[in-house]
């Protein structure tokens, strides 16, 4: 029983990080129809920022966290301004290729600057300690990860549903032309969307480092791909979908690991992608693609 409970915690811990990253994928796709493959690499940069802040410069963990989130957010907006804005009216394929290019740039840039080895934070964990929940011991990092993610998702839902900027985001994602006729600035709204998505990725990065203690140049690539699968599973473009998809992938991976097939876990995740694309490409909560009349 205790074992089962701790596996549930593991699944939720992993799932909440996927969900945070999947949200960025989904929001950006929702607004400019771009699968932003550089999104995962923002996690990597956030993870390095945390590592250097704590291990290299000895900053207080809280300061490191703020710094990492800030850097991630700015990086996301910078990528959007420098690489995607000039392609606003270009074919979506050009945009996709650019995103892949940005991803390579970040991964190779990190390798060049920080080396190809994995930086470990096991000796200086961001969060340490355990918590006793009704007789079951769980790591504090897991609890914080889950709680922070849930709070971030609630805040995001509020922002998108209730605030003026959130409504502008929804308007732009439905119809850019009509949104402009309302007086909504595309540049501002799209940058804002990237900022939010990257902010969540920054939180994801910090939580990832807090949970798994490491940073490496390629870490964002696999994490990003899995979050992408989560976004597609939930229904790309859908915010609650990204959350559900993220947790679902976390649960599936944990199940596969518990079954003693941990070498298969990546394969299973990508098998899910293939099945979703074959059976229900719009995902769990995705809307059918409506042609504009």
């Amino acid at each position: 029983m205790a074992d089962f409970f701790s596996q549930v915690v593991n699944a939720l811990q992993l799932g909440s990080i996927y969900a945070l990253v999947a949200l960025g994928y989904s929001m950006v796709y929702g607004i400019i129809m771009l699968l932003n493959f550089a999104h995962g690499d923002i996690i990597m940069v956030g993870a390095y920022a945390t590592y250097f802040a704590v291990c290299q410069y000895g900053l207080h963990p809280l300061v490191a966290v703020l710094l990492a989130v800030l850097i991630s957010t700015l990086l996301g907006v910078l990528i959007e301004k420098a690489a995607y804005t000039p392609l606003r009216s270009a074919p979506r394929l050009s945009l996709l290729i650019t995103a892949i290019g940005v991803s390579f740039l970040l991964e190779n840039g990190a390798q060049l600057l920080f080396g190809a080895d994995t930086k470990s934070m096991v000796k200086t964990p961001l969060i340490s300690g355990t918590l006793n929940l009704g007789g079951v011991t769980v790591s504090l990092a897991a609890v914080i990860t889950i709680v922070v993610s849930v709070i971030a998702m609630i805040a995001l839902t509020f922002l998108v549903q209730k605030t003026k900027l959130g409504k502008a985001m929804r308007a732009v994602s439905e119809d850019m032309g009509a949104a402009q006729l309302m007086g909504i600035s595309l540049n501002r709204t799209i940058s804002f969307t990237f900022a939010i998505g990257s902010f969540l990725a920054g939180i994801g990065a910090v939580l990832h480092v807090g949970s798994y203690f490491q940073a490496s140049p390629m870490m964002g690539s696999m994490l990003g791909l899995k979050a992408f699968v989560a976004a597609v599973l939930g229904g790309i473009g859908s915010i609650p979908g990204a959350m559900i998809g993220g947790f679902a992938i976390g649960i599936v991976e944990t199940l596969v690991t518990v079954a003693g097939l941990s070498t298969w876990k990546d394969g299973v995740v990508f098998a899910i992608l293939i099945v979703v694309l074959l059976v229900k490409p719009t995902g769990i909560l995705g809307r059918p693609m409506v042609e504009k009349v």
């Binding site: 119809d175 402009q180 006729l181 309302m182 600035s185």
Partner: protein, 235 residues
């Protein structure tokens, strides 16, 4: 009377397609002016260019005495120029109320007062304020699109085929509302394929054919013209 909106010699292209070929027209304050023409004549393109969503290669567009042809599209509405676009283009996933709020996005005045005014014009929308836009009927969507444009309290409202796809009784209702808005002081630029209806309410009209203005005059003159009768009024 001052020229309120003045479009002078605009040329608009879609890639290699020359859609608007040097047209000029104007709208005076307080008028209803209509642009009529067949499918593909360039009516929508003209309105989109005035709204800043498309750009002209030549000429100028002035509104209230100021050039607006280089103003970004999202800065047009705050100058008092709103458009009800072709095909309504309401936000289908947002509620009626949210759609109306979007119409007042840049407005500095009271949103709730503007909404009351819109609900006065369209009591139907008030009943359905919590309903998702995509579930409204075609007529209700048209009303919402008009209401949304009114939320910015425009000085000039441009309507692109508001009667499209509506039953005759609804068409009449929409035209009544347009006449009513006009009476309340809104200047109107109306694009229509329903030439008969449009000419009957218009002070002046322009006929657009494959990107050029071929005729212009008062609504009455054009309604009586042989060419217009033959081409647009079914004999």
């Amino acid at each position: 009377m001052a020229e309120f909106l003045k479009v002078d010699d605009i040329n608009v292209y879609y890639g290699a397609i020359h859609a608007i070929k040097g047209i000029s027209f104007y709208v005076n304050e307080g008028e209803i002016v209509t642009l009529i023409g067949a499918n593909g004549a360039g009516k929508t393109t003209s309105l989109q260019t005035v709204s800043g969503l498309l750009r002209s290669k030549t000429g100028s567009i002035e509104f209230c005495g100021e050039r607006i042809d280089h103003v970004p599209a999202h800065k047009i509405v705050e100058r008092g120029l709103a458009q009800v676009p072709e095909g309504r283009r309401i936000f289908l996933r947002m509620t009626v109320q949210e759609n109306l709020e979007m119409g007042a996005y840049t407005s500095s005045g009271s949103v709730s007062e503007a909404m009351d005014y819109v609900f006065e014009q369209f009591p139907r929308l008030k009943e359905r304020r919590k309903q998702i836009g995509g579930t409204l009927s075609g007529g209700e969507q048209q009303m919402l699109a008009m209401g949304r444009a009114l939320m910015s309290r425009p000085k000039l409202m441009m309507l692109d085929e508001p009667s499209m796809g509506l039953a005759p009784i609804l068409v009449e209702q929409i035209f009544e509302i347009i006449a009513n808005l006009h009476k309340n002081g809104t200047t109107i630029l109306l694009v229509e394929q329903n030439a008969q209806m449009a000419l009957s309410v218009a002070d002046r009209a322009y006929v657009l054919e494959t990107g050029k203005i071929t005729l212009s005059g008062t609504g009455k003159e054009l309604a009586a013209s042989e060419e217009v009768k033959k081409a647009y009024l079914g004999g």
